[in-house]
């Protein structure tokens, strides 16, 4: 286990989710030599440069061939290894989607698929590299647990959890380097159990990934406007913490916030639960609108899609009926 110290949290945040993933990989392999890391020509990008040198027998670079990578991981998983498969989230989730369905969904082989730079963080590279569809695609496949950490410390926690989970996992890493920390000290992480970060009387904001931090900041701005918001970190998108959604029904409005398409992601998952509940408040889905926008830097794209804290607060304020 990695030491969770203020220094480490600061360092992992600087490195971003990929770097934090790499640090976690070096840690978990020390406790379980059956853990192997695969990548499709993205060793350093995935934060695995040091890992590949320290543990060459546990590292496999398959070249630029994502479908083969997921298949090879399936074979390894059947033979008792714990393979983590790493590449850009968009290629991890969709280039090899049929392999994911058959190997991870249908056969439940315990492959741990890691989608790096999910969301908009690599938007400057164009729509080929952003990943706003991955949750929707993978969530529709049975049997796959989806983890979406809020910051770098939670990324470390999720890697440790993914090793413990007996079945297949999709680990969705959003954000870039210098990832703002949500957690400044150690805390209890249990996959499938949402975490309330801030209590509030009027509304409940349920967020995932990078949008947890932005939602906390939005909640602060809303407080100035006299709206008291509860903020929930939905770090596990599947299986969804249904109780957390049910308890949100006592507030006057539910808002989901995600760096993913408004179709089929966290908003969709929460709406599916709400559909079965008779007395429920209005549900506002905030996320990436159903569109591809011209390429641009991370913050620029977040602004284009209305995902900066001020924009989130404003949208909530506009829609909130007292």
């Amino acid at each position: 286990m990695l030491d969770i110290t203020p220094q480490n949290i600061r360092m992992w945040s600087l490195l971003g989710s990929c770097g934090a993933f790499g640090a976690a990989a070096e840690s978990v392999v020390q406790e379980n030599s059956n853990i192997v890391m695969l990548t499709a020509d993205l060793c350093s990008f995935a934060g695995l440069s040091r890992f590949s040198k320290m543990y060459p027998d546990n590292f496999f670079n398959v070249g630029i061939a994502e479908q083969n990578m997921v298949g090879v991981a399936g074979g390894m998983a059947k033979e008792g290894l714990i393979p983590f498969v790493t590449t850009y989230a968009t290629f991890a989730s969709m280039r090899a989607l049929d392999q994911i369905k058959v190997n991870m969904g249908y056969m439940k082989l315990p492959v741990k698929l890691v989608g790096m730079t999910a969301g908009l963080s690599v938007g400057i590279l164009g729509a080929t590299h952003i990943s706003i569809e991955d949750i929707a695609a993978i969530r529709s496949i049975p049997n796959i647990c989806i983890l979406s950490p809020a910051d770098s410390l939670e990324t470390v926690k999720c890697v440790e959890a993914a090793v413990q989970i007996a079945g297949p996992v999709y680990l969705r890493l959003s954000g870039s380097m210098n990832n703002p920390p949500v957690y400044k000290a150690d805390y209890d992480f249990v996959a499938g159990k949402a975490i309330t970060l801030k209590d509030g009387e009027d509304i409940t904001i349920i967020a995932t990934g990078t949008m947890v931090h932005n939602s906390l900041r939005a909640a602060k701005l809303l407080k100035e406007k006299g709206i008291s918001a509860k903020v929930v970190n939905m770090h596990t998108l599947k299986p969804l913490d249904v109780d957390a959604v049910k308890s949100a029904c006592s507030s006057k409005m539910i808002i989901t916030v995600e760096e993913h398409s408004v179709i089929g992601g966290l908003g969709g998952a929460v709406a599916e639960v709400l559909a079965g509940i008779e007395k429920k408040p209005e549900h506002l889905i905030i996320g990436v609108s159903d569109s591809y926008k011209p390429a641009g830097e991370y913050k620029y794209l977040l602004e284009q899609y209305g995902l900066l804290p001020e924009q989130i607060a404003e949208k909530i304020e506009q829609n909130y009926k007292k």
Partner: protein, 270 residues
Amino acid sequence: MTNLTELSKQMRTDMLKMAYSVGKTGAHIGPSLSLTEIIAVLYFSVMNFDPKNPQNDSRDRLILSKGHGVMAQYAAMKQLGMITDEVLLTFKKNGSKLSAHPSLNRELGIEFSSGSLGQGLSLGVGCALALKRKKSNSRVFVILGDGECNEGSIWEAAMYASYQKLNNLTVIIDKNNIQYDDFTDNILSMNPLDKKWESFGFETKTVNGHDTEQLIKILNMNAEKPVAVIAETIKGKGVSFMENNPQWHNGILSQELYEKALVEIGGANA
């Protein structure tokens, strides 16, 4: 030693029974019949496989990537005493474990689910890498169709297998020259298939896929590299009206045709 000719005859008879039992649903009889000797030789001669202990870690792994040929595998399992006649006839019935495409089943030694073409070789490469890591002597056999070799993922896996020098991996290509729609030459010819595998770094051998002696000899060969065996076969082998006929990739057996086929199979080696 098992009489492989007699065994193949019984396997073909059971495949016809299975195909007939599903009635108008139809079954992949042609691509199963072409596999008969390959499967027979693997289970009864080449592979280290104990039907009483199909999860034994020291077993050789068999991956039927062209999953639609699975009737040949079920027929072999009956001969191995792993399934009864009764179970055999649950083939392709609602909820049966003997599905139209194989479903992972540890008790039956079905290593992986298949049916979505192009995926089995990557799984085999993963197994072969893991087995090498474990210092295991087990071998991995992956059976592909020649039509299946249209899939790009096969070649991704082939590149990686030879780069990793996986000499514990043997690929057998059931080259029956017919795919779903028509003869492969009329759809997407892969010829020269042997040159392709060779250039991807495989020790490549071409054999008559219905000649059990040749198959045994080649499949027991030691190599420094992964091996590709191009098994030249006849789709629908053993039944005159099915042989080399694209109509029988997936076909429906009437009672009349079924009886005719049984006689031909029974008489073929009498």
